[in-house]
């Protein structure tokens, strides 16, 4: 619908919207994060929820202690290989719609511990991540920025067609394989369903 016409109608007291807009508006303004922290990034995440940065402005002040009630998983810190199966399991237990923010250098790539034998080199090896935030640790502003990026992403999602969210796609897989602790490493070392991420530029990427 034409934006000007919409505004004109609004002046006359008529609200014109689409189901998609209404639906996404509700979705993006009530993202409840899960209450769990993994390392030092969690301290910044806690700071973000407190009065100075006030995550409540975005409708995300309610940290749920149960994955069943949470919409957003903030991977706040280093994911060790011992912890990774539990993180994937918690993600599996969350109800759709669910989102993931990988917060900080460790959560996105292993960070300063990347060369370690016990650290997972990025949680996106096992679960799909919506927003990555660099930083060690990222400041609360960065987490808010990631939050707004996630809201924009939700807002732009169509409810039908190719780009629809996973929970409206009956073909999409809801459960992600939980890695099994093996004799030398996690098995498998990554979930081939989500990693490595395909590079869509058409030209050869750095991995190829």
């Amino acid at each position: 619908m034409d934006e000007h016409l919409k505004i004109e109608l609004g002046k006359q007291g008529i609200v014109v919207t689409t189901l998609q807009e209404l639906y996404n508006w509700g979705r993006r303004n009530s993202i409840w994060p899960m209450q769990f922290g993994l390392a030092c990034c969690a301290i910044e995440m806690i700071a973000t929820t407190m009065a100075r940065f006030d995550m409540a402005r975005f409708g995300a002040e309610v940290f749920r202690p149960s994955p069943r009630q949470a919409d957003l998983m903030i991977i706040s810190g280093t994911v060790t290989k011992k912890m990774a199966p539990q993180v994937v399991r918690l993600y599996n237990q969350m109800a759709e719609p669910r989102y993931v923010i990988a917060m900080g250098a460790c959560a996105i790539s292993g960070g300063p511990f990347k060369q370690g034998y016990n650290v997972l080199k990025g949680i996106d090896r096992y679960i799909p991540v919506d927003v990555h935030i660099p930083g060690c640790p990222p400041r609360p502003e960065a987490l808010l920025e990631a939050f707004m990026a996630l809201q924009k992403k939700i807002d732009a999602q169509p409810l039908t067609g190719a780009g629809r969210p996973r929970f409206l796609d009956s073909e999409a897989r809801g459960e992600f394989p939980i890695p099994v602790p093996g004799e030398h490493d996690l098995e498998p070392a990554s979930n081939r369903g989500v990693w490595p991420v395909e590079i869509e530029t058409g030209t050869k990427g750095p991995r190829d």
């Binding site: 290989k81 011992k82 790539s109 292993g110 990347k114 060369q115 034998y117 016990n118 080199k121 990025g122 996973r166 796609d169 073909e171 999409a172 897989r173 602790p181 093996g182 004799e183 030398h184 490493d185 070392a189 990554s190 081939r192 369903g193 989500v194 990693w195 490595p196 991420v197 395909e198 590079i199 750095p206 991995r207 190829d208």
Partner: protein, 231 residues
Amino acid sequence: MLKTVEEIKAAIEAAIPGAGVEFVPNPGPAAEHSLLLRPESAVAVAKFLRDDAELAFDYLSNVTGVDWPDKEIVEKVKAMRITTKTVDGVEQQVEETVEETRKRIEPGCLEAVYHLYSVAKKHGPLVIRMRTENRTDRVTLPSLTPIWRGAEFQEREVFDLYGIVFAGHPDLRRILMWEEFKDHPMRKDFVEPDDYEYEPTAHDHVLKRAQAHPAAVVASGSQRWRDEGIR
């Protein structure tokens, strides 16, 4: 500290005959000498160190491990040899000094190091060590957890990362790595899991690892992703 390490050694030997405590000097500027205990008598010695009124090492601050890999020692030995030489057209037997290179392998061991303090007497640290017979199958040492309760988790950590088995430990399980894990990551011969990932600024050993990885292995993941059509 009231007593020097040598004096403590003498006190141990006076109290426990045949303890076989060995003095390990530290040539560095810290000069933090230590005592090497024999596994057979270690528990008795530890009990003495804790209970003796004058020493009273009532606090165990740290337990750590050391891996001493098998060492190849190359020595140059001078040896006399009789050879036949032609001097001035006449064959003569001449004694000659020849340098020979001999190689021998010094077997390695695993070592547990304990740092003791006395809170009551305000002295310390005293460093005591124990060594296993080798690095592979004879890796048992007596646990000092019955003497100092604080050793429990740290001995578990040493067991986890170095593979020293502490006999008499109340709950010897892995503490950092998962139960199914087979390796001991702090050992010198530990092979890292090959979970190589693309790095924008690979250098040194990371670069070598990157080059060892055929591009096909990394690319096949995204190919499989396309084939299976997982979202």
